[in-house]
Amino acid sequence: MELSDLQDIARKERESQKPIRVRCCTAAGCLSSQGQAVKSALDEAVAANGLEDRVQVIGVGCMGLCSEGPLVQVDPAGTLYERVEPRQCASIVAALDGGDADANVGDTTRPFFTRQVAVVLENSGRIDPERIESYIAADGYHALHTVLHDMTPAQVVETIIAAGLRGRGGAGYPTGLKWATVAKTEADRKFVVVNADEGDPGAFMDRSVLESDPHRILEGMAIAAYAVGASQGYVYVRGEYPLAISRLQTAIRQARRMGLLGTQVFESPFNFRVDIRIGAGAFVCGEETALIRSIEGHRGVPRPRPPYPAASGLFGCPTLINNVETYANIAPILRKGAEWFASIGTEKSKGTKVFALAGKITNTGLIEVPMGTPLRTIVEEMGGGVPDGGTVKAVQTGGPSGGCIPQSALDTPVDYESLAQVGSIMGSGGMIVMDEQDNMVEVARFFMEFCMDESCGKCVPCRAGTVQIHRLLTKIRDRRATDEDLATLRTLCEMVKQTSLCGLGQSAPNPVLSTLRYFPEDYRALIGAPSEPSANGAAPRTA
């Protein structure tokens, strides 16, 4: 495979496009609401009308607006049909040359769509995730070619540093620095690993990227491997994502057949092999040292750092671990340049972030916005606020490691530092909206139950501490708690946060601490006789 071959494939793919394209979402969300039946019905209707020469029906990845699925969009007209039922497909096909179809037409000018800036999701919902040609036609693998033939590994690392990309897994460590560390470490064997163990409940960005545009991840991995000097990669993906796994398997097979993975990629001396490792249901395996143990076939138990995986990771070798969304940003950065990327977002948080909007919100689904976009814009404008005229009580970001941001802080811009300031974290990008009916003690208890069940059991504060925090929250919920219990809860949360071995335990108290900070009244209301002001100075409520 050489550049001219790649360009040939792209040209042929573009030329084979038919004048009218009907894109049909086949990501997991839409598939579970009859998406496959809709696609079949569209195929049948096209055949029945003898339109095969002019019209093609394409199964594509996620189009974002999951709450209105299954979604169908017609190009070049751009008409979007929502909540499509198989019986409506004949009329959609009949209306392809004009006229109205008997189906719900979506408004593509609403802020949900217009406020988005697509970098990671640029191909999602546009290309066929099961055909490598479709990705190549969208400039896929061009960046890899450039990197292998025109750049040194050091130049690639410099580009990523200059772009200012930070880890999208949640902590926001500068990606370029991580690459530089692995690149500098001398070793015979190095690995690159994709963390696709998207465990935060309420987050489905990584799943969507893998289902909609798997080759983008492979290209990002290959570029990273070249930059750090690795020749083997692993994608560690959750077992709960069967569709993502199968599309990734297909993508690896296709890339290998074309010589874009394997030995001598693009006729260069670079070799790169990718294997998939399937997780088996353990949230803690999102923690990098636990993930490494799991790939090695052990219990996914974290170990103290240092040494960091960049120095000693998988099988004791230097290992680069990045999140799915981080890898998804790599090819565009190399294609369009570090400056372009750095021009998006804020001073310290560059680029875009994909969020999974869910909970009590009208438009649930996936959105991608520049860093620094205020929460209010996302929740109220794009998300359409709480359905049926309810009001937002809190927005939960960062899953069980994050916090609940109150309505009063909705003007917070979403970037790593601002979210940390209001007691939450960026996390991987789950964003759950809660309304007045949600009691924050219940919410905190829900997350604590999660952490308790998912604790690996190695270190005492996390194993035994989460159990006791959960018991205290249950006591409060059942109106059996005293002021003393509330004080114990605070001390215990602080202790678990400070003393736990890994990120799971260190962040497990966050949902409790943030709800205590912003919603003390939810706690006070459940505690018998309020006697003195709570520690954060809020006045006790009189009964």
Binding site: M452, C459, V460, P461, T488, M495, T499
Partner: protein, 238 residues
Amino acid sequence: MAVRTLTIDGKPVSALEEQTVLDAARDAGIEIPTLCHLDGATDVGACRLCLVEVVGTNRLLPACVTRVAEGMQVVTTSERLREYRRMILELLFAERNHVCSVCVANGHCELQDLAIAQGMDHVRFDYLFPKHLVDVSHPRFGVDHNRCVLCTRCVRVCDEIEGAHTWDVAGRGSRATVITDMNVPWGSATSCTSCGKCVQACPTGAIFRRGSTVAEMDRDRTRLDFIVTAREKKQWIG
């Protein structure tokens, strides 16, 4: 071998560069509480009792796995550390059924010693009273899971020093337990060599010699040291 100088609790200390803060402190006669640490076995940093403050870092660092560094200023005891250590011990006592008065290890128990040393005079948390089994199927030893603190010293000593890997941990979170072979009664675990190293390693009364009654179960840890030194340094006289 390069030497590093640091201060521990204000006391100037010199240590070899590959030493941990825990080793350096012990050499200097400063005691840092530990539970999962066992001389001769790999450290796992699980009990969190040896957490210390290091000037210039916000995070608390486990002394057992933190290497010394030049100019490091370590604080091993502070009000905050004392409070956290007490709380960790309270959590352990509440987690299973630790009743000293009827325990074979009473008076020879590291958990008990730690509680006394840290001034843990009461437990703020609900006792969970879980139902755990006592396994006396082994002809010479027994295991009472009610007294297990999941320090994994038995697992490590069996794997790393004896080389049998009879023990491992099953389940996770608070439901984790130590097991032998395919979770069979210890007496039917064919990989067990009955060497008794786990008995020597256990910090509490969880693993004991059969026939011991209350407060009779003391241990001789120097025997483990002896084997490790013999294996690693080929020295048989201590």
